[in-house]
């Protein structure tokens, strides 16, 4: 097929394909590995803390680490490598808020940082809350 005859179809053979297998493997092992680390930490915290507090302590650690890694400019490189192994975790949500806040600090603390902080992460928040509400309804009606 010539490019001139049907560009949108013919151009596909010139476009690089994403490496689905490598990306899936990386996402599985890195995302899974981080989840194992979280589980081990939770078990450690569980020794001295009640169950909910232990989980929250792990979340705090992960969120804190993501914020620091974002601030020093490492998290985006990690995500480029890990793909879904980084974006499917709560650390990515922390990264989305921190990166937007960093990006927009030049427009001031109110209209810049506060106004733009949820620009990327906001969608996860909105649909997270909507989903939680719907599942909550189902739970109570059952």
């Amino acid at each position: 097929m010539r490019l001139r005859d049907n560009y949108r179809q013919a151009v596909k053979k010139f476009q690089p394909k994403p490496s689905y297998v490598a990306n899936s493997l990386k996402a599985f092992f890195i995302g899974g590995g981080l989840s194992v680390v979280a589980e081990v930490l939770r078990a450690q915290f569980r020794v001295n803390l009640p169950s909910l507090a232990a989980e929250q302590a792990v979340l705090l650690l992960f969120i804190g680490a993501a914020v620091v890694l974002t601030a020093i400019g490492v998290y985006d490189e990690f995500s480029q490598f890990a793909g879904a192994g980084s974006t499917m975790l709560i650390t990515w949500f922390a990264n989305s808020l921190t990166s937007a806040a960093l990006e927009h600090r030049s427009e001031g603390v109110v209209s810049g940082i506060a106004g733009h902080m949820f620009k990327v992460g906001g969608a996860a928040l909105v649909y997270g809350i909507v989903a939680a509400y719907l599942f909550g309804l189902v739970y109570f009606m059952r």
């Binding site: 690089p16 990006e103 030049s106």
Partner: protein
């Protein structure tokens, strides 16, 4: 008549008298690092915000260009400038410091050759003795406007390009210089119907091919009339497509074609498919290619700056990406 064929302007006596380039850290580390006049090793270029950093680059490029041309800004009759940011803030805010009539231009990444072509036309038509054409882009200002916050963790595909941080300026005039601007082919907006903003090479290649074909047709020329045909920022993906498109039209450019986006970074730099942005074509042409021409490596080249007329809002509304390409012919002036 200076219009030849449908889209090509032919100039009598117009010269590029001087150029100036300024770049950021990644470009300075690239293979052309020592071609640029001003190098900033900090992405902020000593300024407080990314936008100010981009303005600093444009100011630096203009200052060096004037210095090389051995004139002051007061001797410039018209300034033509543009960039990628909304309301062309870099160009407008840079121009407010100059007591010079100003035409702001936007052609996305095709602005470098758009300003050069229009500047040459104004000089050739007698509307200005000297025109200054300038353009800039900055990786961080472009990222935040067109994509995501710079530190957001997203996995970019191999077709994505890396916006060049830099600025280029050219002084155009009637007095004889080293380089003559002999013709310009003004492109049409071509929309091939592609929608992926992370693959602008595929979106822009048809516009580049169209302008190049029209150029050959208008001037009754062929690829062999040029030592180099260079596109602005088609990158690894788009440059292959444009060669194929031209081949289908019967023009073989495989031996004398290149792309500025492929020249500016080392392949291992992590710049994905190559460089892009207004500055990509500007700094490579003004900083590197003209030096090559001066050194005798080329006599005549066709520089085709390619622009994806991309708007994040239009992409979100499921519109496709229109593209444009403007070509300018630059020839070496030898002798004396």
């Amino acid at each position: 008549m200076k219009l030849v064929g449908k889209q090509t302007w032919v100039f009598d006596d117009v010269y590029i008298q001087a150029t100036g380039t300024a770049v950021g850290p990644s470009e300075a580390d690239g293979p052309l690092g020592n071609c640029f006049d001003v190098v900033h090793h900090d992405l902020y270029c000593g300024e407080k915000t990314w936008e100010r950093a981009e303005r600093r680059l444009m100011q630096d490029a203009i200052a060096v260009c004037l210095q090389h041309g051995n004139i002051t800004i007061n001797e410039v009759d018209v300034l033509l400038a543009g960039d990628l940011l909304n309301q062309n803030v870099t160009a407008n805010y840079t121009a407010r410091a100059f007591p010079v009539p100003f035409l702001c231009m936007f052609g996305a990444c095709s602005t470098s050759m758009e300003t050069l072509a229009v500047g040459a036309a104004l000089v050739d038509g007698g509307f200005a003795k000297r025109a200054l054409a300038a353009t800039s882009s900055h990786n961080a200002t472009a990222e935040r406007q067109f994509r995501y916050p710079t530190e957001l963790g997203v996995q970019k595909p191999k077709s994505a390009t890396f916006t060049v941080t830099g600025a280029g300026a050219a002084l155009i005039g009637k007095e004889k210089g080293r380089f003559r601007v002999t013709a310009a082919t003004i492109g049409r907006v071509i929309d091939a119907g592609l929608t992926n903003p992370l693959d602008m090479g595929s979106a822009m290649a048809p516009a580049a091919a169209h302008t190049i074909e029209q150029h050959f047709y208008d001037l009754r020329r062929s690829p062999s009339d040029y030592d180099l045909i260079v596109t602005g920022d088609l990158s690894r993906v788009g440059s292959v497509i444009v060669k194929e498109l031209l081949m289908e039209a019967g023009y073989d450019v495989t031996s004398n074609y290149n792309d500025c986006g492929l020249l500016i970074y080392r392949p291992e730099k992590g710049a994905f498919a190559g460089g892009s942005g207004c500055a990509c074509c500007a700094v490579v042409t003004y900083g590197h290619l003209l030096k090559e021409m001066k050194a005798g490596a080329m006599e005549r080249m066709l520089v085709v700056a390619t622009g994806a007329l991309l708007s994040p809002t239009m992409i979100q509304q499921n519109e496709s990406i229109p593209a444009i390409a403007h070509g300018v012919v630059i020839e070496a002036v030898r002798g004396e």
